[in-house]
Symmetry: C2
Subunit: 345 residues, 2 copies
DNA sequence: TTGAAAGCGCTAACAA
DNA sequence: TTGTTAGCGCTTTCAA
């Protein structure tokens, strides 16, 4: 329970010098620095971050806001953010909305408590009032997968992702391509889901291929829900597509299992492509568009810390940043080889 | 940026009364309370938690320490902890070891910074020095799945879990039962993995069944690693088991996929049972022992907050608490029905 | 490079 | 029930 005052006393310097020596800010003679560090370690001194934060206005604490910790994409991005924050000596305060359950209390209460140096907002959409409120609190914010107006954001080009995934299937010779995308829920993921869907529709149109309403499915991004939707879709042998583009790998897992349970072989009778880069895709042989979520988390923290440390003044780099994706071809996609007995229309 | 002093002034009371009115502690007349809350909302007052923490010694902030956010069990438990903490108005500071990568810095540095009212330690093992250090810091700790000597812990009976899973297979008529368990790494999960393994061995012995070294596998709890191990195990038709007990559902997923890729039907040619209660088990039809991780997280927080709020004095309930599990039978287990052409030894 | 001194914005005795 | 008065343990001007 030794305080900095005890350290200073033992080192034979003033409290101010001790503080400077320990924080590295301000100039301190080598001799004083040594005396202070020696005293500190002898006493087992650990600084009170409350006191430090109160006096300095910096808390070395970043809030991470996301809709679900329990989805692979978010958990993996969180891991990347965690690494970058640990390395920088920052604490990470987690705000998991759990859907919308805590959205309001986090946005209207927790985030405003001024104990954060900055906020990382993942897949979050804010209305005008919410944006204003949070910016008025003076907290630097960086978003991932926004869009958050007036807030620097990292994103992938979701339209491009949808187009590329769909074109991969089309270029293999598929003309009957379905899409399983996310919900159009307000306040979350909207642009992501609709971007990927727009890319799908664009690619289909560009190739002169028909869009059918029955081939455009919506699910909640979970494997289980995707399983149900896909099973329904594939049950009708006459009407079913030969390929499906899923907006996430977890959805693709569900789709693959549904196909297998219907006795359809992948990729012979159904090609499946996902988005994310989930490790489990390896053992399923899932073709996907990898978006390197871990890297997104790390990069977002770098951006945020730059903002925080420049005192919110200079934005480091362009306001918005497009992150890289990569088409990763495995065994779940191939040219359509529909066995005899199955007909297309 | 209004402070409590401004609120007090506008309400026409002293700062102390304003503080009491806002915190609900101490007695305040109805009239004063109204005046204060009115003034506070008029000014858009938000308390500085740094100042409050410094003055009161309570930070309303709980640290959660776990080895991987990206494993289903941990993410789900975290979700439960998050709910309980949000409901109680507490912040959650996340410390993700990412294996062992940040173990040392979290334990030796971050946790000691005295900004936490308590710590929830999940699947963590501490050596004597570490335990002493953390207890010396005066932070209340509750563990899940310890064991942490001198620290109240919630756990399931892992030996019982292993025994029950194995006995389920044995009672179906299996005599060739393999086990895919976790690593024996120091500092993490050790007791959990070895407990489940011990239960398996106990059940086999009690039934007079042979243990084979080749049937006792170790993996890192991931589906991918489990896939590799299982594929190896099952490749030899002469030597392979008819059932496998996996120490987690994610492992079981890997095992099921490996079996399918070898053309083995589940459950006819291989029965699989897991542990956890992963939702995705539904679509795979995985039989499992559900351990309700979400509930574990919630319950652990309740215990911890009781400790914190009782000022570390009275432990609420017994020091250690055994959590419930449930055998959930689906379609991945049945009596062995080995097709002709395959032989047992 | 150093020290003295004044807070940071709140809470908690204590006395009234 | 209320107000006065000290702090909580640091950081940071400012002057030396």
């Amino acid at each position: 329970m030794a305080g900095i005052r005890d350290v200073a006393r033992l080192a034979g310097v003033s409290q101010a010098t001790a503080s400077r020596a320990l924080s590295g800010k301000g100039s301190v003679s080598a001799r004083a620095r040594e005396a202070v560090t020696a005293a500190a370690s002898e006493l087992g001194f650990v600084m009170s971050y409350h006191a430090s934060s109160l006096a300095s206005g910096r808390s070395h604490n970043i809030g991470v806001v996301l809709p679900f910790v329990n989805r692979w994409y978010f958990a993996t991005l969180l891991e990347g953010a965690n690494s970058a924050l640990m390395d920088a000596g920052y604490d990470l305060t987690l705000y998991d909305f759990q859907g919308d359950r805590y959205r309001e209390s986090v946005l209207g209460d927790f985030l405003l408590r001024k104990r954060l140096d900055g906020v990382l907002a993942v897949s979050l959409q804010l209305n005008a009032h919410e944006t204003e409120q949070i910016l008025a609190a003076g907290i630097p914010v960086v978003g991932v997968g926004g869009p958050l107006p007036d807030i620097p954001t990292l994103r992938i080009d979701d339209v491009e992702v949808g187009r590329r995934a769909t074109n991969h299937l089309i270029s293999l010779g598929h003309s009957r391509v379905a899409h399983l995308g996310g919900e159009h829920e307000y306040g979350r993921n909207f642009e992501i889901s609709s971007g990927r869907r727009a890319g799908y529709e664009e690619a289909m149109a560009a190739a002169g291929l028909p869009l059918r309403e029955a081939w455009s499915l919506i699910s909640d991004y979970s494997a289980n829900d995707a399983y149900k939707e896909t099973k329904q879709l594939l049950a009708d042998a006459e009407e079913r597509p030969t390929a499906i583009f899923c907006a996430s790998d977890e959805m693709a897992f569900g789709a693959m299992l549904a196909a297998r349970d219907l006795g359809l072989r992948i990729p012979e009778e159904l090609s499946v492509i996902g988005v994310d880069g989930h490790e489990m895709g390896e053992i399923l042989g899932l073709t996907t568009i990898d978006q390197f979520p871990r890297n997104q988390g790390t990069r977002a923290v770098e951006r945020l810390l730059a903002l925080v440390q420049d005192d919110g003044q200079a934005a480091a780099g362009p306001a918005d940043e497009l992150m890289e994706t990569r088409l990763l071809v495995r065994h779940s996609t191939s040219a359509p080889r529909i066995p005899a007995g199955h007909s297309g229309s």
